[in-house]
């Protein structure tokens, strides 16, 4: 099994309750092809670097899952057909997934969620991300801290830039 990561951008005008419907539909696809959903991470509204379908903002969602080509195909087909989705991209993260490491990682992620320690998690971020993926244990809390840390600052920066253009 391979590990993939799909980022997709939703129409920013879409009401919140519609998000849930869409996510449920996508999550439902994963087990059908013997895949595992690792996490679904909502980055929230961000400024787009360029216009997509006349939109300057978009609601980013990251989907991290394991599966094979058929699953990716199915997910992409659904995203393509759905006109609430502005754009999507799937990236291969790992060619062979170690299920045990993955389970440990998901466990760790679950444990980490209720604990609000953004500072400590953020400090470890740099070392763990990137190449150290297969080790698993450290990766989950790291990527969790990542969007919460990134989103506000990035959007600020982008807004500033926008103001001066």
């Amino acid at each position: 099994m391979r590990r993939y990561e799909t980022v997709f951008i939703l129409n920013p005008e879409l009401p919140e309750d519609q998000h849930k419907l869409l996510f449920d539909k996508l999550n439902g696809l994963v087990p059908e092809d013997q895949g595992t959903l690792v996490k679904l991470d909502e980055w929230g509204q961000k400024r787009l670097a360029y216009e997509i379908k006349k939109h300057t903002r978009g609601y980013y969602v990251l989907m991290d899952f394991c599966g094979d080509g058929a699953l990716v195909h199915e997910i992409e087909r659904n995203l393509r057909l759905d006109d609430r989705v502005l754009k999507y991209m799937t990236v291969l993260k790992d060619n062979a997934v170690d299920m045990e490491a993955l389970e440990a990682e998901m466990e760790a992620a679950k444990e980490q969620t209720p604990r609000p320690e953004p500072v400590e998690e953020a400090s470890g971020e740099g070392e763990e991300k990137g190449d150290s993926e297969p080790t698993g244990t450290g990766e989950a809390p790291v990527s969790e801290a990542d969007p919460s840390e990134n989103t506000p600052e990035t959007s600020n920066q982008e807004e500033q830039e926008n103001g001066t253009t």
Binding site: V7, I9, G58, K87, K129, G130, Q157, T165
Partner: protein, 83 residues
């Protein structure tokens, strides 16, 4: 006879690959703040001879920037500021 060493007109600081020097830095397409260092204001990728990156990391960086562009985290072409 050995030729006397010619003085270099310009003293260039030896550039070191930032990602090799600091292993805690990671290259990730989801992090446009870091990637922005390696693009011009126009959004073009800065070449290796200017940024001083090593081949391996420049390759990763290029890939990350291109991915970030695909998903609209970074611009393909940004407009310059008008004064």
């Amino acid at each position: 006879m050995a030729r006397p060493k010619r003085k270099r007109r310009l003293f260039r600081r030896r550039k070191v690959c930032r990602f090799c020097a600091d292993t805690s830095l990671s290259i990730d397409y989801k992090d446009p703040r870091t990637l922005r260092f390696f693009t011009t204001e126009r959004g073009k990728i800065i070449p290796r001879r200017v940024s001083g990156n090593c081949a391996k990391h420049q390759r990763e960086l290029t890939r990350a920037i291109k991915r970030a562009r695909t998903i609209a985290l970074m611009p393909y072409a940004a407009t310059l500021r008008h004064y």
